[in-house]
């Protein structure tokens, strides 16, 4: 069979009656069909309506939330039910999570009963916990079965494309007692009992675990999928690695965006209005903090009036503090996100930051002290510049540690607003140290 590039796929979608193409579509990844549809713009929905329901369901699973909502509404309600019936429980849950409650009820009343029950349960979990990302489709077997029994069972029931490469061994109370990978199944002789080849030291995820922690566990162990259990050990669902890659990207992006002063959800290629909405609130917060920094300078107007060279060194001292603070802030925010900063090492890390801040502060402080001495041709001016720099950079490094750690303790995302706090602090302190010292020693400086 030939593989299609995007242009060929667009051609195919446009010119042929999609009903005739079912067999071809089975071989093409739905995300490729979605890519081609996106490119077709005007004809996108006309073609989507002609595709078979199972394929529309697969394509829906690849869409972003907004795109999904828009696409769903082009179908009649009857067709919406049919499409949703083809989707997996976790995807239905994500889709319904964005709809009004009465519409959710109508959907749940019109899809497969068993699936509706599962979705109802999934809807009770928080979106960013293990329960919110798991799927409820998995294959349960009993430990008394043999390999040939199991193969017969799988051949009879089939395996959904959503299903993972593990079989889960449950006891009569639905409690997870073992795991068997398809790898172990196919390499064992037919008469082997499942109990002899299953793994019994099972790692499972508690249903209410935060998704960031789930991602760190997956990364640590490298499993393809992990079972999710309730507090009694009853198996509720599975989480698969492909959800994890998305979560890792989502959480990393959130950190990067927040550190850069952007709101989540701003797309590179989105409309201008989104960019303004994403950025302007942060800019306004920053404006308040910039005014506080400016006002600090204003406090020392009379000193600057007497010694205008202070205005030249002002941005150097404040700026370097900002840089040092951003460095330790970045390290700490990542350390928290990746679970590398723990209660056990917090004190040691703090101490390390203090010393590193001091060393870097002294190194940069000496350089600017010499610069100040030469520029102003006064040793004491160099001393004031140098001491202010050391104080500001050391403090900046400490603040870069304390702000995210404090936010974390308050259960606020450490990346959120950290950058604003840290740079405000370093600006205000930088100006205060430098201009304050200069005011104290003004008579020696003039």
């Amino acid at each position: 069979m030939k593989t299609f590039n995007k242009e060929e796929l667009k051609e195919l979608l446009l010119t042929q009656a999609p009903n005739a193409l079912e067999e071809i579509f089975e071989e093409i990844h739905p995300v490729d069909i979605l890519d081609a549809l996106r490119d077709l713009e005007d004809d996108k929905y006309t073609i989507l309506k002609k595709l078979p329901n199972w394929l529309v369901a697969d394509i829906f699973e690849e869409m972003d939330e907004d795109e999904q909502q828009e696409a769903l509404n082009i179908f009649s309600e009857i067709d919406q039910f049919k499409i949703i019936n083809e989707m997996s429980s976790d995807e239905i849950t994500d889709l319904l999570g964005n709809l009004e409650p009465d519409r959710v009820d109508r959907f749940l009343g019109n899809i497969d009963k068993e699936e509706a029950e599962e979705v109802k349960e999934l809807l009770t979990y928080e979106e960013d916990t293990a329960g919110g990302i798991m799927a409820t489709e998995f294959i349960a077997i009993k430990e008394e079965m043999t390999v040939i029994d199991t193969l017969g069972y799988l051949q009879a029931t089939g395996l959904d494309a959503e299903t993972v490469y593990y079989l889960y061994v449950l006891d009569s109370n639905e409690v997870l007692t073992g795991i068997l990978s398809l790898r172990d199944l196919v390499t064992a002789t037919f008469d082997t009992r499942i109990s002899d080849i299953m793994t019994t030291s099972v790692k499972s995820i508690p249903v209410n675990m935060d998704q960031e922690e789930v991602a760190n566990i997956f990364q640590k162990y490298g499993f393809q999928a992990m079972p999710v259990v309730d507090s009694l050990g009853e198996m509720l669902g599975v989480i698969t690695f492909d959800d994890i890659i998305d979560i890792v990207r989502e959480e990393d992006n959130e950190d990067i965006y927040r550190l850069g002063g952007l709101s989540e959800g701003e797309a590179v290629d989105g409309p201008v209005i989104d960019s303004v909405k994403s950025r302007l609130p942060w800019l306004l917060v920053n404006l308040v903090t910039a005014i506080i920094a400016g006002a600090t300078v204003g406090l020392f107007s009379s000193t600057i009036d007497k010694l205008v060279i202070l205005a030249t060194f002002n941005p150097i001292i404040a700026g370097m503090g900002g840089n040092a603070g951003t460095q330790s802030l970045t390290l700490i925010v990542r350390g928290i996100a990746l679970g590398e900063l723990s209660k056990e090492n917090a004190k040691r890390v703090f101490l390390k930051e203090v010393i590193a801040g001091l060393i870097n502060g002294v190194a940069i402080g000496v350089v600017v002290a010499i610069l100040g001495l030469i520029w102003a041709n006064k040793p004491i001016f160099g001393l004031v510049v140098g001491v202010a720099m050391i104080l500001n950079m050391s403090l900046a490094t400490i603040v870069g540690y304390l702000v995210p750690v404090t936010l974390k303790k308050l259960n606020v995302d450490p990346a959120l607003a950290s950058a604003v706090f840290v740079t405000t602090f370093t600006d205000v302190c930088g100006f205060f140290f430098f201009l304050g010292l200069a005011t104290m020693f003004l008579k020696y400086l003039m």
Copy 2:
């Protein structure tokens, strides 16, 4: 079987003769044993030396590079050969990549011949390309085989824990013609021919593709593993999702660190000397740029001398430019990393940035103009402040787009040094616009 927590595992490692524990260790994930060993500090290597070679090899695969090198050297050369013989080709390649050439040759001469050949080939690929991350272990089958033939073959040969959940169908020239998942294998009846159930529209990765692009493809399609082929379509190896999660984290971390002015490899919990080495070079670069910014202010000393309120507004205008620039920089750096900024949409994105910069600039500009008017009690001062702010923020947004895009064109990582360029630019321009305008209109301002 019981599962062990870290304390129990430490106890077990310390008190029992590890030889007696082989069966227990088979059920424990090597990363958990490594965690326990790390905690044991002094006894770490004594215990490691007592463990069976296959387990040491598994534990090695979980270690960081430095840790691996240190641990390797506690073994005699003979034991080193034995341990390495138990590792998979891609892990051996990573390990040997850090050794001196003559030591590499000695290793290759003392391990399994076939494996040595594979490792030699893997060593020829760049570390951050598909060839550098793939493993050469995979199961190849022929399309004429039936399901029962294949099961018999797998039962006879066994499947390594490293092997993926796909079987690869190769023709007589080793060219990849189809893929069969274990899922499809176990659900098909025994007499089914492989050619009837294999997928022929195979997505494969060219051996020289950059790892960042590989990660984006995995994320797009959600595959568990993908085959790597050369330019003739011959299959060379496989890349698995667990490598991809590591790469995503590595690439994201690199972006975050570089945007925050840190060098890669600085660990949260590392020694002070690492922190100084990671940060001081960036701080020195920043110092140069801060001095340029300060010198720009110095150019206008006589203006500030006449109108000291300018020193108060200076940091506000420069700071807000920095914030606006950092926002668009962050968005563009991520857009490039995630493959969302392309040739096709570059112009549209640029235009969006220009307009967003202008809108935000005007919004903030109006606020500070009013503030300036009130503070200085002179409408013309408000006008100067407002215009300087609009100019600086608009330009900052454009620079935030242009710097990473230009670095990318020059084949430099867009995250590298971008932040330094952008904030220097916005500082210098902010001071220049504001103090320049103030100098021009000085007689109306006093």
